[in-house]
Amino acid sequence: MRLDRLARATVEVPSITTWTRLEPQARDASMQRSLQAQVRDPLWMLARQWQVGEFFGADAGSPVQATLAAETQTVTTYRPGVDDSATVVLDPSLPVEIHVERETAALKLRGSVQLGMYFEWLVRENGIATPEAVIAAFRTSFPISANVPDPNYAPVSAVRFRSLMAGKVTDGEALYVSAAAVQAGKVPPIPLPAEANNPGMPAVLAAFVSYRASLFSEPQNDPAWIDNQLEYEFAMGSPTPGQNLLLNAPDFPGGHLDWYSFSLQNDNPNPVFTANPAQISPVNFNFFPNHVTFRGVHDPRWWVFEDGMTDFGQLDAEHVDLAKLLVMEFALVYGGNWFSVPIPIPISTLGGPPTWNLSRVTTLIVTDTFGIRTLIRPSEQTTVNPGETAWSMYKLSGVGMRSDFILMAPTLGVVDDADAMEEVLFLRDDMAAMAWAVEHKLQGDLDAPVDMHEAYLDRVTRNPPPPPPQATAGGPQIYYTLEDPVPEYWIPMVPVQTAQGALYLRRGTMQIPTSGGPITVTGRALLLDPGQPFFVADRIIPQAGRLADRYFRRARSYDGSTYLWMARSSGAGRGMGWSGLRFDVVNDMKPVAAK
């Protein structure tokens, strides 16, 4: 036994030793723990900061304080149209869009009925003796006619409305014109009846005139609409002793007005300018600069979750997409180096009229953590290569003129626009080598739009074109037509040239043959200035055409006042069109149908 033990002790039984290598695996297929963002390792945090360069020193300090000096310069004058002599003092109580756009609210039958009924209500409610007799007298003097003025194009509902109202209500619009004339000491177009002098009636008429005048904002002979441009033109002045700054809106198509509607120019001296110099008010701010933030901008710090709504890295930009590349570069490279300061600009005192101001920054000094003060210059003063100009945005500029002004236009915010009461489509017709003003909608008796195509179809049904000549045995077998008729709501616009060579389109006339005799085609839309020559500059009607309309607009102003005004607007059309107009047409005659 001892020998055995000795042998085992001296002769080792061979055994195998294996080696296990411990491999830490920091990565895992599952993102669960990574997304939990457990922070247990300070070295890892520091390593990431080192990786993105947050430990690199720079010879600069962080901005900690800034001083901004700004000044505002009031806008004091208004000029409708292009005539400098029409310049007037800007009326701050009237929003500029309304001042520019408004035109006379020319109402027809329904407006007359609405106003007439209000007048009769006033007579009944104000204790006038024998009110029905007084009302009857006014109805006789200012009657609603039972005769439809333009029966060819009156929809049935308008005819019925007229038939119902004829003799039952005073023509309010006609009464307003006469009563207002009497109030102004003028001769009324229609004399008021003797009952206008009954006890209490002068007060009723005064209340009536006041009510009607308060319904609509109407112009004082200062139209800004340029007929031959189909756009508004106006200007606002901000004169200072050294400079007559003019905010010119040469092609305002109507609708929303804002800073981009204006271009800047220097105007000639004007007595109204001299009498109404702009007030310049300095403003100073001290503020703590804040980073500019926007969707998609990278956060300057590591370990901050960014907004994933906008991912500039995923933008697919081609080499030619310069604007997109610029935005990307700004957002990804320089986005963290932009700061902003909010500046509240008073538009009006509470309940008061708005003021138009030009604003600019005069001085901006930034102090950093080391106390170094840096003057920030406006982008217009950036040093650029010869032949180039500095680029800026939101600043007012004009032809050959740059400025550091911004304009916070105190325009109307939300405007309630009615459907177009009148709509005219100007389009080119290359087949006929001319243009057309297509009266799609016209104001009807109900002061609502009448679809002229439907009216035309209705007219054709009631008053069709004359039948073509029919062939007879031994007679001619063809007939000649000088021109094919077009629908009567297509108003011809004929090209003309001025002595100076400028091209215009002049509203023309045509005659349409019907079974009831020829119809003369002439513009009836107020947009086409019926009754007087109407020209439109040739360049105003592009190949895409141009659509112009008239419509009511309603808005609240800064002081809470409600305004209702009739406005115009114009915009792009719907392409070219063909009227069907053909000249010198020879047709075969059809034989007389056998009975």
Partner: protein, 388 residues
């Protein structure tokens, strides 16, 4: 029977039959575009009317539907009974047809007024078929679970698609609403003409108001009673302590209006200041906005900011050699070492594939015979898996 549509011999102000039709047409256009008033209409948009106690009188609606269906059923039965008397007894059929015409059945009016009429039988059958189909469809609705839309659907099935049924509505806060209606006259003391002007202006812009204005003006043409301009009863919610002014008027700078207030302009029948329930047609609603007196602008500028940032870890350094006073080289050395360690921290196994046979140099022996010191990771794995 002959309807004389127009005659030049009549006095100018005579009301003609087409005028009456025009009135009916105007009213139908107006009513057809409205909807019944609901509890939510009688409070502010922010308040949940149902949670605040607003409700529709479902019991009343149920009773009205039951009465409607019973009446319809009886009228169908009466027409069927009268139809049985044909061809002899034609007058009962005519009477029953006229009764059924109130349901808006096209072609229900008999073409003759008396005497034999061979077409009456077919006409009656057609009306019976139409009304029976409507009855069957309306009667299939389970009234115990019906909502307002279901009740409306029954009435529209029986009458026509533009039929309006007005439920009795209990407002969420009836006391406040009554008090608000009581302020109607006080709201416009500075401008009593304002409501009429406001309505007239809206008639040129908002189609719904235009339809209402037209209906009222057409109705006015039929008499001298004061119908036009419609008299408006005003109310505003929520109530304010200060003297209130109608929100449609220019602002009172001394008492600027709060945001989110609701203004009601109602043409009322009865006295809304003492009613517990209301029924009405909702004509139009819209938000009215007044521009802000102050605009917010901003100046943005470029300033090259250093990208250096404070470390996101606190370093607690201990003195490596127990000296009493720290010095700069020692502190720098600690910082340097920390940064070196941080850099090393970025290295993981995937980053050292080239030297993967060597690194990491953590080797552990395993000998089952205990010939050397062994580390058995299997046990650790078992424990780890056991505790999950």
């Amino acid at each position: 029977m002959q309807i004389l549509f127009q005659s030049p011999d009549l006095p100018a102000a005579t009301v003609l039959f087409p005028d009456l039709l025009y009135l009916a047409q105007s009213l139908r256009r107006f009513f057809g575009a409205c909807r019944p008033t609901e509890p939510q209409d009688l409070t502010t948009p922010e308040e949940n009317a149902a949670q605040a106690g607003g409700a529709i009188d479902v019991v009343d609606l149920t009773n009205r539907v039951k009465a409607l269906l019973t009446g319809l059923k009886n009228d169908i039965a009466a027409l069927q009974a009268a139809q049985g008397g044909l061809p002899g007894a034609t007058d009962p059929v005519r009477k029953a047809l006229i009764q059924c015409s109130w349901y808006g059945v096209t072609g229900a009016i008999p073409a003759t007024t008396a005497g034999p009429d061979a077409t009456l039988g077919d006409q009656a059958q057609s009306v019976i078929d139409t009304l029976q189909a409507r009855y069957n469809k309306a009667n299939a609705v389970d009234l115990t679970r019906a909502q307002l839309a279901d009740f409306e659907g029954i009435f529209k099935t029986v009458f026509a698609a533009d039929f309006a049924v007005l439920p009795h509505v209990t407002p969420p806060d009836v006391t406040t609403l009554q008090a608000a209606f009581g302020q109607s006259a006080a709201l416009t003391t500075t401008d009593t003409v304002a409501p009429a002007r406001w309505l007239r202006q809206l008639s040129h812009v908002r189609p719904a108001v235009s339809r209402m204005d037209l209906a009222f003006s057409v109705a006015q043409a039929f008499g001298t009673a004061a119908v036009y301009p419609p008299s408006l009863t005003l109310a505003q919610l929520p109530p304010v302590a200060a003297p209130d002014r109608w929100l449609a008027l220019p602002l009172d700078p001394a008492h600027p209006p709060q945001k989110g207030r609701v203004a009601f302009a109602c043409v009322t029948a009865g006295d809304p200041t003492n009613q517990a329930t209301y029924a009405g047609l909702m004509v139009d609603e819209w938000p009215e906005r007044i521009p802000n007196a102050q605009a917010q602008t901003a100046v943005a500028f470029h300033f090259e900011e250093p990208s250096a940032r404070a470390p996101q870890a606190l370093l607690l350094a201990t003195c490596p050699d127990n000296r009493e006073t720290w010095d700069d080289p020692l502190l720098q050395a600690v910082l340097k070492e920390t940064l070196e360690l941080a850099k090393m921290r970025t290295v993981d196994l995937g980053s050292v594939l080239q030297v993967g046979q060597i690194l990491p140099a953590l080797y552990f022996a395993l000998n089952l015979e205990s010939a050397t010191i062994s580390t058995r990771f299997a046990v650790i794995e078992e424990v780890a898996s056991a505790i999950g």
